[in-house]
Amino acid sequence: MSPLVFLVVAALTVVAALTVVLHRNPVHSALGLVATMCLLAVLFLGLDAQLIGFLQVIVYAGAIVVLFLFVIMLLNLEREPRGLGPSVVVGAATTGAAGLAVLIVRGLTGGAPPADTTVEADFGGVAAVAERLFTAYLLPFELTSLLLLVAVVGAVAIAKRRPS
């Protein structure tokens, strides 16, 4: 992905992420989250991760955030007068997060940069990911399906109206 395209997409992603965190209307925050997911999917496609990119749109943007929107609409949440906590907390959190970001970048880019690997044409395609998924990562795969079952049963059990 050419650096110019990356910079444009990255700038938009940061703006969308800031909308999620700073906007006072929860519905607008949710829409910012959708925009972030879709822009990240574009970045994934640029990184030769076709399956993951489209899964990101289908699962994350297409299902999870819809669930968020449902809950916001069900609870009829209004625009908040002031969404953030006390200013001291905001200041401390922002400084702390900035420090965290610097630490992360130093930690991740500390070692020698990896050589510019060329990958085969179907890298990140369905066949390649599935081959890894069903051989080396079979146990986590089966456990994840169990986890989803538990989550479905749990969510229904928790959110059910108790007949009182």
Binding site: V20, Q56, L77, T94, F123
Partner: protein, 103 residues
């Protein structure tokens, strides 16, 4: 400009998104927006994994992202169910007003 973007640019973006998510979790009072900021954290990590997978030429990074997306879906379902139940009990989604377990 042509050519490929260096790996470190992706990592900087990912760290930036992680920082924004952290600020969201610490600073917002609405439980649902806090939850959305948590999803932002997970996405930042996904970006790191995919970037490294491409840089190392190993698909394993993408398989891990597959699992992260699945677990995030499960977590979102259960978390939102809890928020719904909490709202029915307390009538609010403000984190300050449901702080009874705090010392």
């Amino acid at each position: 400009m042509t050519g490929t973007t260096p790996l470190s640019w992706y990592l900087v973006l990912s760290a930036l998104l992680f920082a924004i998510g952290t600020v969201g979790v610490l600073v917002r009072r609405n439980l649902i927006v806090i939850f959305m900021a948590i999803e932002l954290l997970l996405n930042a990590v996904n970006l790191t994994f995919v970037a490294f997978a491409r840089a190392r030429g190993a698909v394993d990074g993408q398989v891990i992202v597959f699992f992260v997306i699945t677990v995030a879906a499960a977590e979102a379902a259960v978390g939102l169910a809890i928020i719904l139940a909490l709202f029915r009990l307390r009538g609010t989604t403000n984190a300050d007003e449901v702080a009874t377990l705090r010392w």
